[in-house]
């Protein structure tokens, strides 16, 4: 086993029932994600990239096969243990930001640290520092509804990285952003990956995202058809 592996999938299958018709989202996927990687999961709609991302993030369970994250086998964990693992080791960035609408940007970033039991003074300090690192310090007091899409996604990234996760999972992070904002966001993710060593796994069909990744894993009909180094920018 690769000692540098952050996440490992072995023989993972997942089938959904849609109107009593089985849909094979994943068909025996083997995949290793290493520390410091910036990987883009690509493929057409229905290829299984989001399913793989969800299974790696412990949001969904495979029908068969094994998944481990940072050495912890996810198959053996119950829902509460999975919640705790996500809280401790993972950061999530969603397509539609998914910030808590009644909290300010800073409070959104602090909220996850409160779940971890970080002391109030420390979490305020870390939230402010993280937002500042993402050029969001001046907007820290604004609520999501008062921010643009790009700014909300920056807050979502701040929330995802403030806990120093071993794995940052991003599902179509640029889907709701214009190209300039997407470029800006990708530079940010790349910088976090290079400077802070954040391991990034992103599911996307945005070619610009693929351009920034170091590695490209292409899925089709629930199977990996290509796993190659990307050019990067």
């Amino acid at each position: 086993m690769n000692n540098d592996a952050v996440a490992v999938c072995s023989g993972v299958t997942r089938t959904y029932q849609e109107d009593s018709v089985p849909v094979h989202a994943l068909r025996g996927v083997d995949f290793t994600f290493s520390r410091g990687d910036f990987v883009s999961l690509t493929g057409p709609s229905g290829s299984g990239k989001s399913t793989l991302l969800n299974i790696l993030g412990g949001l969904d369970r495979p029908d068969s096969g094994t998944v481990s994250v940072d050495g912890v086998a996810l198959n053996d964990l119950n829902e509460t243990q999975l919640s705790d693992l996500r809280l401790a080791k993972m950061g999530f960035v969603f397509q539609s930001y998914n910030l808590i609408p009644v909290l300010s940007a800073q409070e959104n970033v602090e909220f996850i640290m409160q779940l971890q039991g970080v002391a109030p003074a420390e979490r305020a300090e870390r939230a402010v520092a993280t937002l500042a690192a993402l050029d969001m310090a001046d907007l820290a007091h604004r609520r999501p509804g008062e921010l643009s899409g790009g700014q909300q996604q920056r807050v979502a990234i701040a929330r995802a990285i403030v806990t120093d996760p071993v794995l940052l999972l991003a599902d179509e992070p640029s889907a709701n952003l214009d190209s300039a904002t997407t470029e800006d966001l990708l530079r940010l993710l790349r910088r976090l990956n290079e400077e802070r060593g954040v391991s990034v796994l992103t599911a996307t069909h945005d070619p610009m995202v693929m351009k920034y990744a170091h590695r490209r894993v292409n899925l089709r009909d629930g199977a990996i058809v290509e796993d190659s180094a990307a050019d990067g920018v």
């Binding site: 969800n54 993030g57 949001l59 969904d60 829902e79 509460t80 919640s83 705790d84 693992l85 996500r86 809280l87 401790a88 993972m90 999530f92 969603f94 998914n98 808590i100 609408p101 009644v102 909290l103 300010s104 940007a105 800073q106 409070e107 602090e110 909220f111 996850i112 409160q114 779940l115 971890q116 109030p120 003074a121 979490r123 305020a124 939230a127 402010v128 520092a129 937002l131 500042a132 310090a137 001046d138 820290a140 007091h141 604004r142 609520r143 929330r159």
Partner: protein, 423 residues
């Protein structure tokens, strides 16, 4: 820049405090109209129940006070055998000394000894059976308000004076100034005979009393029925009718056998039963109202949970345990309850306190209708801890259960499914 953000103040700078209650509170105002409607339902229930219970409690105390003040007193001391079998010889002995000692007992305001006997009361050609009360007018005046009900003539003063019920006087065809003769059986089995002058006619509104009761001086009735320093009943007035149950226990421990103390609810079980039935009926109605409102709260929280499914999925995804999400929803329910209960109490308290002081006049017609049930013409509310606390407590439990029912769905929520839900 980071320092600048902290120093800037505003919502961001307040961060650092516990966020769960803050999130719960702010969530309420995402749909302010729904929150106010839900809180309004709780407020209505709290207001209605606090007001109604205070009103009921006030009416009960006044009813008990009226009923006991008329004739029976708050407590009665009797020979245990007399309670079981009302024979004229089953008396309380050594009454003068016992009355003095009783008046030294803490909580006892006054004591009035009575002789009770049955006699044939006749005037001219007419005769009717009636209860004869031998009373000490001075002590009676300090203990009950029976003599306030003398509608014609005056109270007993002389040794041959008697007051009779209005209906009895009418049946006998006599009035003030008339003469009656009482014939009964004395303690030793001999004939007890007594000729009395009617100096007053009383009207209590209680048919049994107005139709069949005569009151005469204690000493005369004792003589006629062959009794010495004896009585059948010592009527006791306590400082407060609400204290009478405690005083009953105190006196029961103190009295020598075979004497016993009986609280008003033993002496007049029909009053107690009437109050109990009314109280149960009240609780039934309050329960129905509370259930209806709690169902509306359930509905409100079902909508809340349904609309926020995706958000709950996100919270699950970032690592929030299902139990903490449920806790957040329960805190929201608690805040709605605080709003509703505070408004309900704020509306009810001034009205209840005002009516506690000034009362509510039923009107002459209603007052005369309810007089026989000892209900006073002016009703006063009475604020008690139970009246004040029961409705808010029931609604607190109700709103928590109402929020918990849809919240249980959160426990079963799969994050990946929830994240796909429509907002």
């Amino acid at each position: 820049m980071a320092e600048a953000a902290v120093a800037a103040g505003g919502r961001g700078a307040r961060a650092g405090r516990p966020l769960l209650p803050a999130v719960a509170w702010r969530n309420l105002w995402r749909n302010g109209r729904r929150t106010w409607l839900t809180a309004g339902g709780i407020a209505f229930t709290v207001f209605l129940i606090v007001f109604s219970m205070s009103f009921q409690r006030g009416a009960y105390v006044q009813m008990i006070d009226n009923a006991t003040a008329l004739l029976s007193g708050h407590l009665q001391i009797q020979n245990r055998h007399y309670v079981e079998d009302k024979r004229v010889e089953q008396t309380v002995a050594d009454v003068s000394r016992l009355v003095n000692r009783l008046e030294g007992q803490p909580g006892v305001e006054s004591v009035a000894p009575r002789v009770e006997a049955f006699a044939l009361v006749s005037a001219g050609e007419r005769a009717f059976g009636a209860q004869v009360l031998g009373v000490d007018p001075e002590r009676e005046r300090r203990t009950v308000r029976f003599f306030d009900r003398v509608a014609e003539g005056r109270m007993i003063e002389g040794m041959t004076d008697a007051v009779v019920g209005e209906v009895l006087a009418s049946n006998l065809g006599i009035g003030v100034g008339g003469e009656i003769v009482l014939l009964g059986t004395g303690k030793e089995g001999g004939v007890a005979a007594l000729a009395l002058d009617v100096v007053g006619v009383f009207r209590t509104g209680i048919p049994d009393l107005d139709r069949a009761m005569v009151a005469a001086p204690l000493a005369m009735v004792r003589d006629a029925f062959g009794l010495g320093d004896e009585a059948h009943t010592l009527v006791v007035r306590s400082a407060e009718v609400t204290e009478s149950a405690r005083l009953e226990r105190q006196l029961d421990d103190w009295l020598p056998a075979p004497l016993i103390a009986r609280n008003w609810d033993e002496v007049m079980p029909d009053i107690r039963q009437g109050i109990e039935i009314d109280r149960i009926g009240g609780y039934f109605v309050y329960g129905l109202i509370a259930i209806v409102v709690i169902f509306s709260v359930v509905n409100s929280f079902i909508m809340t949970v349904f609309e926020r499914t995706r958000e709950f999925g996100m919270l699950r995804a970032i690592g929030m345990r299902p139990g903490r999400i449920v806790l957040m929803v329960q805190i929201e329910a608690a805040f709605v309850w605080v709003l509703g209960a505070a408004i309900g109490l704020a509306l009810a308290l001034p009205i209840v306190l005002w009516l506690q002081v000034y009362g509510f006049y039923l009107g002459d017609e209603v007052a005369s209708m309810v007089e026989s049930m000892y209900v006073p013409a002016r009703l006063h509310t009475r604020m008690t801890p139970v009246a004040l606390g029961l409705a808010p407590a029931v609604m607190l439990v109700g709103t928590q259960i109402a929020a918990l029912i849809p919240s249980l769905k959160i426990r079963r929520l799969q994050p990946v499914t929830a994240l796909r839900a429509e907002e």
